[in-house]
Symmetry: C2
Subunit: 535 residues, 2 copies
């Protein structure tokens, strides 16, 4: 493949391929630089005359459903990741398709997890051609090693909606694992033994795919309320014993960090939000499920109590910590993209102030605005951040692709974006000269909070002014880096990557922001990658 790939250097100075998996690409043109001129994807018009008037769309098996939906070689099959590492359906779909003899499928998950590692065998056997979607863990390593036939395409949650909506990815068959559904195809994630909260990540799939299959282990009589997925978009319904392992759906990784360093980072974040004047009546914030993010919420909660300040809304990934804020009356609404524990699942199912959102409302950059830019402050993580405040969340400093983007890129639109990161991990500095893979442009990243100090992007004079005189350890990012390099014994070793692309990182507008390169040695290719490609 690499021989035929042409590269251009985009507005971020990164070499990116001009064609990805046969589709012409638009290189990144700067934040807000690219303006779409086409129309949205237009799925085929259907007729009720072709669907049972009883509303009963059940078919006997996943295989029967795939056949009914016209499964054939080369199709795009989409799944969602609300069941996280407990998901039993995505793999089953692909394995069933493989047994049916089809080849060269493109798998288009909203994210993949370690439980999906056996898809590697399907790629080896030829049933699956490649994956476009976040590849966490083993699949990311497989992609990194250069063994996948097509390029990985990494999109944010909002970017995935944008790609579907704009017709960049045309889904042939969407398979939606639903914790509750009726025979008409109305479905939700709120109820049932496999409850996961919302099904927002599958919403675009249900609206734009040619064919939609709902798979459920909790079939209820019509109407399934709420219908997060509308049966009017669904072709058939399959009943199975279990769509997932409940203990892994709600993963239990949502514990506040106990690391003293990370607690310090969390405290700095909360104090920064307070001292910069962001903590004011009616403010809003976004917090994910990481240990630091949860801890900063606890610090912020105490400050809100003390100052008697109520937030208007908080955006999650939600957990019991956000639910407690809601129940205590410290926030009016949780606007929720996914639920991370059972408290949050229960809250969303029963409290009308805990509102399920979708990537359309929250993150899609190709709409008439989205919620992300209305958030006063977003607190995020990163694998690397550099002097220009550019962020990386997908690769490690050794070049390996190990993480998806999630909503990270989309959240950068917040009024103030804070990266809360330890200054090093396993003696690898997090602050680097230049990020291995550019995932978020530095102009959108305002503050980097580490246990050794807080660096404010010089572009944000307003924030620098706001915290002047506070007791916070505000320091230049280079100074923090220098201190860390001394501890870690110098710069990390340069990633040993080859000049063969294995994946691209899309920006929120569908343009190509950066390239992920093959890791390790590949015969016939001699030069290290980025130097060669940047020529």
């Amino acid at each position: 493949m690499s021989d035929a790939v042409k590269f251009v250097v985009n507005a971020a100075g990164r070499p990116v391929p001009t064609v990805v998996n046969g589709h012409e690409q638009i290189p990144f043109q700067g934040v807000g630089g690219y303006r779409p001129e086409k129309s949205k994807h237009a799925p085929p018009i259907r007729s009720c005359a072709d669907y049972p008037s009883s509303g009963d769309k059940r078919v006997a098996s996943l295989e029967a459903a795939l056949r009914k939906c016209g499964l054939k070689d080369g199709m795009v099959i989409s799944t969602h990741h609300h069941l996280r590492n407990g998901d039993r359906i995505a793999l089953q779909v692909l394995q069933t398709a493989a047994r049916m003899g089809v080849r060269d499928l493109m798998w288009f998950p909203s994210a993949s997890f370690p439980c999906h590692a056996p898809v590697i065998e399907l790629m080896e056997s030829g049933a699956v051609h490649h994956i476009e979607g976040s590849m966490n863990g083993p699949l990311g390593e497989y992609c990194s090693s250069g063994k996948m036939r097509g390029l990985g395409v990494l999109r944010s949650h909002g970017g995935r909606w944008q790609a579907i909506q704009d017709g960049e990815v045309k889904i042939d068959i969407a398979v939606i694992a639903a914790p509750t559904a009726d025979a008409f195809g109305n479905a939700n994630g709120a109820h049932g033994k496999s409850a996961c909260g919302s099904l927002g990540f599958a919403l675009a799939d249900s609206m734009y795919a040619d064919h939609v299959i709902v798979v459920t282990d909790n079939l209820v009589p019509f109407p399934c309320v709420p219908w997060q997925i509308q049966g009017n978009n669904v072709d058939c319904v399959v009943e199975v014993d279990s769509i997932g392992d409940p203990s892994k759906i709600v993963s239990g990784t949502t514990q506040i960090t106990r690391s003293p360093d990370r607690l310090l980072i969390a405290e700095y974040v909360a104090r920064f939000i307070r001292d910069a004047g962001i903590l004011r009546p009616g403010f809003s914030f976004q917090a994910g499920a990481g240990g630091i993010a949860l801890a900063f919420v606890a610090f912020l909660r105490d400050m809100m109590r003390e100052k008697k300040i109520k937030a208007r809304f908080v955006r999650g990934g939600s957990s019991k910590y956000l639910v407690e804020l809601l129940q205590e009356g410290l926030v009016d609404y949780i606007l929720d993209g996914q639920t991370f524990d059972l408290d949050a699942v229960h809250s969303m199912a029963t409290d009308p102030r805990h509102v399920a959102t979708s990537p359309f409302t929250s993150y899609n950059f190709h709409g008439k605005g989205n919620f992300a830019s209305l958030v006063d402050v977003a607190v995020l993580g990163a694998t690397e951040v550099d002097h220009q405040f550019n962020g990386n969340v997908v690769t490690h400093s050794d070049g390996r692709l190990l993480h998806g983007i999630g909503g990270w890129q989309n959240c950068l639109a917040a009024g103030c974006t804070i990266l809360a990161v330890p200054s090093f991990r396993d003696r690898i500095p997090v602050i680097v000269d230049k990020v291995t893979t550019l995932t978020g442009p530095g102009e959108l990243i305002d503050v980097v909070v580490t246990e050794r100090g807080i660096a404010i992007n010089p572009r944000r004079k307003d924030l620098l002014d706001a915290v002047r005189g506070s007791s916070l350890p505000i320091r230049p990012i280079e100074e923090i880096q220098k201190e860390v390099l001394a501890i870690c014994g110098g710069q990390p070793e340069k990633a040993k990557v080859l000049d063969r692309p294995v994946a691209v990182v899309k920006w929120v507008d569908g343009t190509v922001l950066d390239t992920v390169w093959q890791v390790g040695e590949l015969k016939g290719l001699l030069r290290p990658a980025r130097e060669a490609s940047a020529e």
Copy 2:
């Protein structure tokens, strides 16, 4: 216009124009006969870069909003009818546009009411070219008289969604009067001084229109929850003192009939539903807001109590009578298209079992099924019904166009469709030899219930068998008609209509079902209409 109009006789034997307002038409091809082959309408892709990142889309006035949306001659302007005869916005929009000097607008309301009569002046002045949408009362008379420059196009609620979704009507600017909204454009009808329940009739407009304006008299801080209309589809927000007259929004016409004849009809309907075996655990029904429909619900409720039978869902138009069923536990869910009184508005706003629906979920024929065909029994009205059980709801026997279709055509998909009608009105028989305007094909109408007896469509042998031996007065439809003709002194006078079309009636699939003809004399045209046209 009439000189150039070509007609074809469609599958229902009705002459229909081949071109309407410049657009080629498909004549009705029989129930389920037409299969769409195109793709859905694809609105332009937008970018957040073109909308304020603060989410504040407010503009100073309706005029400023229309200008921002690029108002120009010949555009299609849509509004919704949830505020019914209390609506203050639709007229204001068109009058503002007229003051701005534009001409030849097409007004595309989901329905119009007597309060919109001043649009006649705008049609006379040239600002509005014609109306496509239900024309109740004065606007219907104006259209009937042949004075409108274009043809009226009458669509059911589901047909309107279908027309927008399929691109048959491309909306340039949708104006959504919202009882509650935030500055981002999220909006609902559930709360505020002008609360009307849902905003479902404006949903397609918000999704498919090029530009969307939300007008509200109750601006709340973001987020407006629930967001029945998503701000991500909205261009700008206008704040006004009042969007409508609350006393007319919730119209108070939802009183149970006191007429002994109509109470008898209602009782027959309920007894029919019971004796035909439709009243069984988990059944479902649809009831509108007419006096007979409300009364039959009261009779049915008593039977449900007596037999301890619970319905799974009821479809409304909802009123306090349905809300009482919900509160009493006689029904699990109300699936609601529009709310007709304050009890229903309150119930929808507070009870998660009282669910707002849209024409997409309930009625759109060009989806993968819809709710209407899942309803066990629908009870509807009509202006006329004929021997073949064909129904008319738009014109009177004198040919005048006075009513919209509403959801009537869509509800015919129910398992059992009952027309509950008095056998005559003002000495005009309701059962006729041939309906003046075909609005619903007889093969979809199963039962006609009058105070003089119940006629079952001979196609429904199952229903005839089911009620055999019951005490209900089951009679052939011709026999009931004969009795009524004797009372009324013979057949009604034939409608004096000319061979000039003034409107067409669309079927749920977008094909043309029938033509509405000009009433009264028009110079230069000599022959009465239907005989001439049917040649």
